[in-house]
């Protein structure tokens, strides 16, 4: 029948029946070419491919260009754009409301490594289960171009002269605080960004993703790793990251033995790390720190999954939380029974 022919083709959906549009946000108001926009697109792609219902994700951010970006993805997810440097505490409290939700924090290098260093490290130390993305461009963009704590030593900015201080390495800070998932990527390498985000969502604990994200307006010097040109030239991936969801059949034949390393995550999914140049074991924390130290000395942008410890108890595992989310508990599960008050009064002497 003619009417049948007129029905448009059903849009493509993921395994959970959501279309890519269901994960989209408002149009970005960041600069054209900002690395953050590219990351936003990979968040959308990763969540779509993972098939998480958007209502099952909560977004958090602090203050800065990076922290504006959560409105540019996942419009159907709750979000809270909080205070500068204080997103970790906000996220921790909010996630206790419903432990079945996925937390996604988006922060910047100033928000995390300057004003927010304390909260960041304590969130990491508690192994709060959430994805924590730092959109790291080495500059304060929203206040128009001041030095950020991750700005490289010697960097020159128009109004501020030369940076004389050592930069903070966010991945090293995370490792020092016993993070259970630490990765670095580059906004100019979208495939790697996406695979790492997917792996991060499957990790039962804090997953720190430091993503170098060029600021095309204030800090796009070609000789800096924080620029597209510089980043592309200097990026050395440790391995090729491939995320394999739990339900997917694995074809071992695709990979030559000895060329890949696999890490099975808490939910049964697998991160497959395909060897590129050298051997790298992402479960060796000391090696990760040493590698980062060398990379800094040689001015190299090494990317990949630096460290993972899939089975350390998360913050949620340390509390006797009911299966029912706390924010769904009715009064009769929250207020002690009437009879208890007499007993309580007897205890007061």
């Amino acid at each position: 029948m003619a009417t049948q022919i007129l029905v448009p083709a059903a849009p493509q959906t993921n395994a959970s029946g959501f279309t890519r549009n269901d994960y989209k946000g408002l149009p970005s108001t960041l600069c054209q070419g900002c690395g953050h926009n590219s990351i936003a697109n990979q968040i959308i792609a990763a969540c779509y491919e993972l098939g998480i219902a958007p209502e099952k994700i909560i977004k958090f951010s602090g203050i800065g260009c990076s922290s504006k970006s959560p409105t540019y993805f996942l419009s159907r997810s709750f979000g809270f754009n909080g205070l500068h440097g204080r997103m970790p505490s906000l996220a921790l409290g909010a996630l206790f409301a419903d432990h079945t939700l996925h937390g996604l924090g988006v922060s910047g290098d100033g928000d995390t490594a300057s004003i927010g260093m304390g909260q960041f490290k304590h969130l990491v130390r508690r192994n709060m289960p959430m994805v924590y993305i730092v959109e790291n461009n080495g500059v304060y963009g929203l206040t128009k171009g001041q030095f950020a704590p991750t700005a490289e030593k010697g960097l020159e900015l128009k109004k501020h002269g030369k940076n004389v201080f050592q930069p903070v390495d966010i991945c090293m800070e995370a490792l020092a605080s016993n993070a259970t998932f630490v990765a670095r990527s580059f906004a100019g390498d979208p495939k790697q960004v996406k695979e790492l985000i997917k792996a991060a969502f499957s990790h039962n604990g804090i997953a720190v993703l430091d993503i170098i994200s060029p600021c095309v307006t204030f800090h796009n010097h070609e000789d800096s790793v924080h620029s597209y040109v510089g980043g592309k030239a200097m990026e050395i991936p440790l391995h090729e990251v491939i995320y394999v969801p739990a339900r997917e059949e694995i074809f071992v034949d695709d990979f030559l033995e000895g060329q890949t390393k696999e890490v099975t995550l808490h939910d049964g999914s697998i991160i497959r790390l395909k060897k590129l140049d050298k051997d790298y074991d992402p479960t060796d924390r000391h090696r990760a720190l040493r590698m980062l130290d060398e990379a800094e000395k040689n001015n190299l942008l090494i990317t990949g999954l630096f460290y993972i410890e899939p089975y350390r108890p998360s913050m949620f595992d340390l509390f006797p939380l009911p299966e029912t989310p706390l924010n769904r508990l009715p009064e009769e599960r929250l207020r002690p029974a009437r009879e208890s008050i007499d007993q309580l009064n007897k205890m007061m002497f």
Binding site: F80, G93, F96, N327, L329, R333, R335, F349
Partner: protein, 617 residues
């Protein structure tokens, strides 16, 4: 265990007329960290068990061990619990303060002191009892390492003997303190009875002070305000507590920690608990966690004191503007700055009221008793969730950390008010009702309170983006002048609505009073006493105790109806009076300041003197 009860000391024999019974004050002077708190609360509890109204105030240093500390025990048959400025009896165990303390003893009063103190007794007009503390201790079976602690039990024994405190009640108090641990009870009670026996054999009582059993504490409880607040919060269904240690607030969260496993086991899922307590890395993180949890739909709170509240400022502004419920207990201590961390104050009133940059308004609660700490413990959540805004409860060190005789806690007299929350189906209903016009910040009912959805809601229309930046009724980022003004104006409407829910002032009247007294919080106790004294001198007063901000219209009425209104408070600048002046400018000239801050609770005498001298002008 068979109780050994000493038979009573040889009495010089004051005639019943000369005897002072159940109406005097004892100050214990000891060294911080010497275990004197156990000895002092043992006496406090024993007197309580004898049915005598009694109150204890710990005046302690910000130190773990070594500095002087005082504990004042007031025994008042009339039920006055305020601080007295003079001591009837001083028990001195600390040479460092020995000479000074003698000055505070009333003529005819008593000095008991450890005979290890080799300093002169300068007063001739008092009864003096040196106590051979070490001698008695060496006869007692006390392990060497506990000797210093047990030393204080010597004065418990001797004083009990002199005053006629019932030893059975002493035993009950020890049993409670040591939670039934027999070895500890026995060794302490052993020292007490040995000391009492020594007194019996060696002392001749030549002072007029006695206690006699009454029945004034029957049915009452004894508790500190912080424990009461924590328990009230647990009865209020607190689900998330984040805190950072600070004197004098720590014991609030610690009490919750202690009672959580008893009171908040999940009745449905075995082995689970329905409240989470997190010790945060600092106060900024503590309030951040609480705000996050409140936004997520949990009954969330934090407890702190002045310096912590200062750090919480930015987050409270965010909670105000994003309309996030959260409860903050501020157990006030002396500021500014680090101030006197172990002394009491009401110095955070204006700060809490105006906290944050830009235009803000907060619900403030002022508990005036231990029982009210319990009540506000649960009620604060109802207010915060109903009004979707921070509620700051201003207690103080005196109320929070001292033990008070109190009416028993009442079970909450109304079900929890979770406010306007929309779950999946509620949202569908409201969308239908409003022809699809729900927005997180849209005032549908005209009371200034919008409807909120909570994370986890699976309705695809439920999500919104919360932000401290300018937003419209639908949560969208907006910089438009009219939008900003509209939202701020609507928040003011909500604050007006709050008056329907906040606790009314408590008013106590006397016939023909033309004088009014206004106050908040723990000054209620000395004010009660001061009013009785003033009435005896022919000055009738009415008293209005404010229990909440926003101010109720009744407060303005009260001020208008009195010729002069004395605003009594523990701070330098008359902060409550300042706020009343702003709220009721038409009555400003009728307000008079009765304010001081020296770290101590106000005494009835000082309040009385202030009012009388200002009346004389």
């Amino acid at each position: 265990m068979e109780l050994e009860k000493p038979a009573g000391v040889n009495d010089a024999g004051y005639s019943p007329k000369e005897q002072i019974i159940n109406d005097f004050c004892i100050t214990f002077s000891t060294v911080n960290g010497s275990g004197s708190a156990t000895a002092n609360t043992t006496l406090l509890r024993a007197l309580f068990k004898m049915g005598i109204p009694v109150s204890g105030k710990n005046i302690f240093p910000s130190n773990i061990q070594g500095l002087p500390t005082w504990f004042t025990l007031r025994i008042s048959k009339e039920g006055y619990f305020g601080r007295l400025e003079k001591d009837d009896i001083v028990v001195s165990m600390n040479p460092a303060t020995f000479s000074k303390e003698q000055e505070y003893i009333v003529p005819g009063g008593v000095l008991l002191y450890s005979d290890a103190i080799k300093l002169p007794v300068t007063r001739q007009d008092i009864s003096v009892y040196p106590m051979p503390v070490n001698e008695i201790l060496s006869a007692a079976e006390v392990p060497q390492k506990l000797k210093d602690y047990a030393a204080n039990m010597v004065y418990v024994g001797i004083l009990s003997e002199l005053l006629r405190i019932d030893f059975e009640n002493i035993y009950q108090a020890l049993d409670f303190h040591f939670k039934g641990k027999e070895a500890a009870i026995r060794s302490n009670y052993g020292v007490i009875t040995l000391a009492a026996k020594w007194a019996q054999q060696n002392l001749k009582k030549n002072d007029p002070y006695y206690v006699k059993p009454m029945n004034a504490t029957i049915g009452k409880i004894m508790a500190d305000g912080n424990t009461a607040a924590g328990l009230g919060a647990l009865y209020g269904g607190a689900q998330f507590v984040a805190w950072y240690p600070i004197t004098p607030a720590s014991s609030l969260a610690e009490a919750m920690h202690e009672y959580l496993p008893i009171l908040r086991k999940d009745p449905v899922e075995e082995g689970k608990e329905t409240c989470v307590i997190v010790q945060a890395e600092d106060e900024i993180a503590a309030i951040g966690m609480a705000v996050g949890a409140g936004w997520g739909g949990l009954r969330a709170m934090t407890s702190t004191s002045g310096p912590g509240l200062s750090l919480m400022t930015e987050y409270l502004g965010l909670a105000y503007y994003t309309e996030t419920p959260v409860v903050v207990w501020d157990v006030q201590r002396v500021g500014p700055s680090t101030g006197l961390p172990t002394r009491t104050a009401q110095g955070d009133i204006t700060f809490a009221n105006f906290i944050g940059h830009g235009d803000t308004q907060y619900i403030l609660l002022f508990p005036g008793s231990v029982k009210e700490c319990f009540e506000f413990g649960w009620r604060a959540f109802d207010l915060a969730e109903r009004l979707q805004t921070p509620v700051i409860v201003l207690s103080d060190l005196d109320l929070g950390m001292n033990q008070w005789v109190s009416e028993p806690f009442d079970y909450p007299d109304q079900p929890m008010d979770r406010g306007k929350i929309l779950w999946e189906e509620d949202l569908d209903e409201i969308l239908e009702k409003t022809s699809d016009k729900w927005g997180r910040y849209l005032d549908i009912d005209g009371d200034g309170i919008p409807y909120r959805t909570l994370p986890g809601n699976q309705n695809p229309r439920s999500a919104y983006f919360s932000r401290g930046t300018g937003h419209d009724e639908y949560g969208a980022y907006r910089e438009d002048p009219e939008v900003w003004e509209r939202i701020l104006t609507r928040l003011k409407v909500k604050f007006e609505t709050a008056k329907r829910y906040t606790p009314k002032p408590s008013i106590k009247k006397m016939a023909n009073a033309r004088i009014g007294i206004l106050s908040v919080g723990s000054t209620d106790f000395p004010i009660l006493e001061a009013r009785d004294h003033l009435a005896r001198q022919g000055l009738a007063t009415d008293h209005l105790r404010i229990r909440a901000i926003p101010f109720d219209a009744e407060i303005g009425e009260f001020i208008r109806n009195h010729d002069a209104n004395y605003v009594v408070e523990i701070n330098r600048d008359g902060q409550l009076k300042q706020l009343l002046t702003i709220e009721f400018p038409e009555h400003a000239t009728k307000l008079r300041m009765v304010a001081r801050i020296d770290g101590l609770p106000l005494s009835a005498k000082w309040i009385e003197d202030q009012i009388l001298s200002q009346e004389a002008k």
